[in-house]
Symmetry: C2
Subunit: 456 residues, 2 copies
C-alpha cells in the first residue's frame, strides 16, 4: 500500500507535499507549549480549493487526521500536529480575490496575511479591524479559526464581527458557502459563526468575505504612568464610567515595563510601576482624549500631555511586547478575561498568587475588554530545582484560572482552547455543554479526522 504522502502527491501534483524532516519539524507545532510532540506524516502546501478538497478526501479515505494551519502563530496549540496526522498549510493561498471599497468588503483566500489585507484596505481608507499581536505575519484563515482578537477590538469587535461569509471544505471534501455578502443577513442558522473560532475541527476555511471598517483619520494616544498596578486597573474603569469608548486601552504592569526597557533600552520602569495606554480615534478623538486625560490624572496617573508620537511609539512597543518568547514548561502566557468591574480585584489576586507560589509574573491586558495576558515563569537553575519550579508554575496557572472563573470570567478571551487549555475547559463548561459540542463535532466530522483533540 502506498503511503499517505505518495497518495497526496499523486492527488495534488508535484511540489505541494513535503516530507523533508526539517519541514516536518517546523510544521509540527505552533507557538504554544508542547505537551505531546508529534511529527506529522507530511506537510501539504495547498494552492487552491481543489487542492484542499483532494487532501481532505485522501486523508478521509485512510482516516488520517488533518491539521489545518495558517502561519502557526497560535499560542494554544490549535495547530500542533497530532499522532499520525497530515498538516495542511494554507499559506500559499494568499490572494486577495476582491476588495470592493464601495461595498466595504474584501474576499480573501485563507493564507492572506492580516497586515497585507490591511495595507490593501488602507489605500481606500479602510481597515480589517482584528489586530492580534501577530498581525504582521498571521493569516486571515488563522484569525478566523481562532476568532482572534487584538488591541482595538474593544471598539471594533473581534474577528467574528468582521466576517460575513465563509467558504468551507467539510470533512467529506465537499465545499460549502455560508453567510452573505451583505452587512446584515439572517437567513437560516448562523453557520458562519459556528465555523469562526472552531479551530479547524468542523471544517477547513478556504475563503472569507470580510467587512472592512473605516480607517480613522485622527488618532490620539495617551500614556498614563501609575505608582502601582491596581491604580492603573482602576483607571480603566474610570474611563468607562466617563462613557468614552477608546479604540485601544492597554494595561502593562511593572514586569512588562522592565522587559520593554531591556529590549528597547528605554526607561519606562523609572517613570512608574504600571502604564495604561489609551488610544482614541475618529472625528471625536481629540475631545475623547481630553476627557481620558482628565479622568486618568484625577485617578493618580502622570499623564502625557505632549503630542502623542511618544505614546504611539509605546503602543508599537506594546504590540511587540511578546518579542521572540515562545512558551514552554517554564514560561506560560495566559489569556483569561473577567467582567470589567473585577479588573482591579483580579490584578490584585494575580500579584498575590505569584507571591504564594513563588513564580515570576508580568501582565499585559487588553483592559478595555477585561482580557488579561499574565505570563508566569520560573528561572531555571538545575534539573531537580527546575522540575519543582515547573510544578509551582502549574499551580500558579491553575490558581489564576480558578480565580478568573470564580469572578465570572473565562479561561480564554481570544487565544482559543487549542490543545493546551483543554485541561481547564471542564472548569468553565459543564458536561452538558461539552457533550453538545461533541455531538456537533460528530455531525460535521463523524470520522474525527479534522484536527482531533482540539478546541472542545
Amino acid at each position: 500500500m502506498s503511503s499517505i504522502a505518495d497518495e497526496l502527491t499523486s492527488a495534488l501534483g508535484p511540489g505541494k507535499v513535503v516530507q523533508d524532516p526539517a519541514v516536518l519539524a517546523a510544521y509540527a507545532v505552533d507557538q504554544a507549549p508542547v505537551l505531546d510532540y508529534q511529527q506529522p506524516l507530511a506537510v501539504v502546501f495547498a494552492e487552491s480549493v481543489p487542492d484542499v478538497q483532494a487532501a481532505v478526501r485522501s486523508c478521509a479515505a485512510r482516516r488520517v487526521p488533518i491539521v489545518a494551519r495558517g502561519a502557526g502563530t497560535g499560542v494554544s496549540g490549535g495547530a500542533h500536529a497530532t499522532e499520525g496526522s497530515v498538516v495542511l498549510s494554507l499559506e500559499r493561498m494568499n490572494r486577495i480575490l476582491d476588495l470592493n471599497p464601495d461595498d466595504e468588503t474584501a474576499v480573501v483566500e485563507p493564507g492572506v496575511v492580516n497586515a497585507d489585507l490591511n495595507d490593501a484596505a488602507a489605500r481606500h481608507g479602510l481597515m480589517f479591524a482584528p489586530d492580534p499581536a501577530s498581525f504582521t505575519i498571521s493569516t486571515i484563515g488563522g484569525n478566523v479559526a481562532t476568532n482572534a482578537g487584538g488591541l482595538r477590538c474593544a471598539k471594533y469587535g473581534v474577528t467574528r464581527d468582521s466576517v460575513l461569509a465563509l467558504d468551507v471544505v467539510l470533512a467529506d471534501g465537499s465545499l460549502i458557502h455560508t453567510g452573505h455578502q451583505t452587512f446584515k443577513g439572517v437567513a437560516g442558522y448562523d453557520l458562519t459563526g459556528l465555523f469562526v473560532g472552531s479551530e479547524g475541527t468542523l471544517g477547513i476555511v478556504v475563503g472569507a468575505t470580510v467587512r472592512l471598517k473605516y480607517l480613522p483619520r485622527e488618532v490620539h494616544t495617551i500614556a498614563a504612568f501609575y505608582p502601582d498596578f491596581r491604580q492603573a486597573a482602576a483607571g480603566v474603569l474610570a474611563v468607562g464610567k466617563a462613557r468614552v469608548q477608546p479604540a485601544i486601552m492597554e494595561l502593562l504592569d511593572g514586569g512588562s515595563l522592565v522587559q520593554l526597557d531591556e529590549i528597547h533600552g528605554s526607561d519606562l520602569a523609572g517613570r512608574g510601576a504600571s502604564l495604561l495606554l489609551v488610544q482614541t480615534d475618529g472625528f471625536g478623538a481629540a475631545a475623547e482624549a481630553d476627557v481620558v486625560r482628565d479622568v486618568l490624572a484625577a485617578g493618580g496617573a502622570v499623564v502625557t500631555t505632549e503630542a502623542s508620537e511618544e505614546a504611539e511609539h509605546l503602543v508599537d512597543m506594546r504590540r511587540n511586547s511578546r518579542g521572540v518568547e515562545v512558551d514552554d514548561q517554564y514560561r506560560v502566557g495566559e489569556d483569561v478575561a473577567v467582567p470589567r468591574s473585577r479588573l482591579v480585584d483580579y490584578v490584585a489576586a494575580l500579584e498575590s498568587l505569584a507571591e504564594t507560589h513563588e513564580v515570576r509574573l508580568k501582565v499585559v491586558a487588553h483592559a478595555g475588554d477585561g482580557n488579561l495576558h499574565p505570563t508566569f515563569w520560573v528561572d531555571r537553575v538545575n534539573d531537580l530545582a527546575d522540575a519543582e519550579a515547573a510544578a509551582r508554575l502549574n499551580k500558579a496557572l491553575d490558581a489564576s484560572i480558578a480565580v478568573a472563573l470564580d469572578m465570572g470570567g473565562t479561561i480564554t478571551g481570544e487565544h482559543g482552547i487549542g490543545q493546551y487549555k483543554l485541561r481547564w475547559l471542564s472548569l468553565e463548561q459543564p458536561e452538558p455543554i461539552r457533550e453538545l459540542q461533541r455531538r456537533l463535532k460528530e455531525l460535521f466530522d463523524p470520522a474525527g479526522i479534522l484536527n482531533p483533540g482540539k478546541a472542545i
Copy 2:
C-alpha cells in the same frame, strides 16, 4: 386521556394556561401575512424557567409542537402557531435581573421589553443597541430569536453583536448556559451565536446576558431631500466614500413621504421625491455632520442646516412609519439586503418592476447596511380583480427577491425567514446548506417539537 391543556395546567399551576378563544386567536399569529392559519391548543404564560421546562417536557411527552413567542411583533411568521401546537408566551418573564454599569452588561429575562431595558440602561449612560422599529413593545427574547436589527446597527451592530450569553431550555426540557459574562470569550464553539436568530427552533431562550454600549451624549441629525430616489441612494454611497460612519442612515422614497404626510399632516412630499436621514453621534458628531452635509449637498440634496430638532422629529416619524399596517395577501413588506454598491441599481430595479407588474410600491431602507424594506401593495376593487391583483403582487415580490439575489443580496436582512419567507430560501441557500441546517435542527430537536416548519 387528559388534554395537553389539562396536563400543562397540572404541571404549571393555575393562571398560566389559557384556552379562552379570544386569547387563542390573539396568539395564533404574529404580524406577518398568514398562509396557514392554525389556532393553538392552548397558550402558556410562563412565569419562570421551571415553568418553561415543565411546558417543554409536557409537550415533548406528547410530541405536541411548541411555539415560543415574545410580543408577537415579528413580520415573517416565526411565531405563527402551527397545527396542533401550544404557544408559549414569555411576556411575563419580564424582569431585569441585573444591570451592572461597571461591567456594562445586563442580565434579563426574555420578556423584558427592549425599551424598558433601554430606559434602565440610560440612567447609567448606557444603551442596548439593537433598535428594531418595534422596540417600544418587542422583547429581548424576540430580538434574540430573530437576531433583530434596527436603525442604528450600521454603527452598533445587530442583536448578535450585543449578546454575550444565553440560558436556553432544550427540547428535552433541560437548561443550558452558553457563552460568557465577559466581552470576549472563545472557549469552545459559538453556541450562543447558533441560538441567536434560530427563531425558537433549536431551543427556547429563557435568559440573556447582553453587552450595553455607551449612550452618545451628542447627536446630530441631518435631513436631505432629493428630487429623485436614485440620487438619494447615491448619497448613501457618497457618505461611505467620505469614510464617515453615521449611527443612522435611513432612506425614504416618495411613496413613504406621502404616507407620512397622510399620517402626520406634514408636507414632506412637497419638499422632495426622496429623503435621506443621517444621524451622527458621539464626540465627533458635529464634525461628522459637517462632512455629511457637504457631501450630500454636493450630490444634489437640499440639506437642513438648522438645528437638528426637525430632522430628529423626522427620524421618529420614520421609526413609526410602519404605523398600524399589518401585512396580508394584498400588502407585503420585504426585507432584502444588497451589497452597498448596488443600492442605486436595486432601487432602480424596484421602481421598474413595480411598473411592470402594476403594483404600488413604497420603500424605506436602513441604507447604511444596504437593507431595504420595500412594501408592495395593490388596491382592492372586487373579488375577481383582487385575485388577479394578488397574483401580480406575488410576481412583483418574486421578482424583487430574484433581483436582490442576483446582485449578491439576501432575502432577509433582519426579519428572519419565519414561515412566510421559506418559499424563497432555496433560491438563496443551496441544498447542501439546507441539509446541514436540517441536521443541526435534528441534533437539537430530534422529535421536531420546537417551532416546526420555521426558519430553515
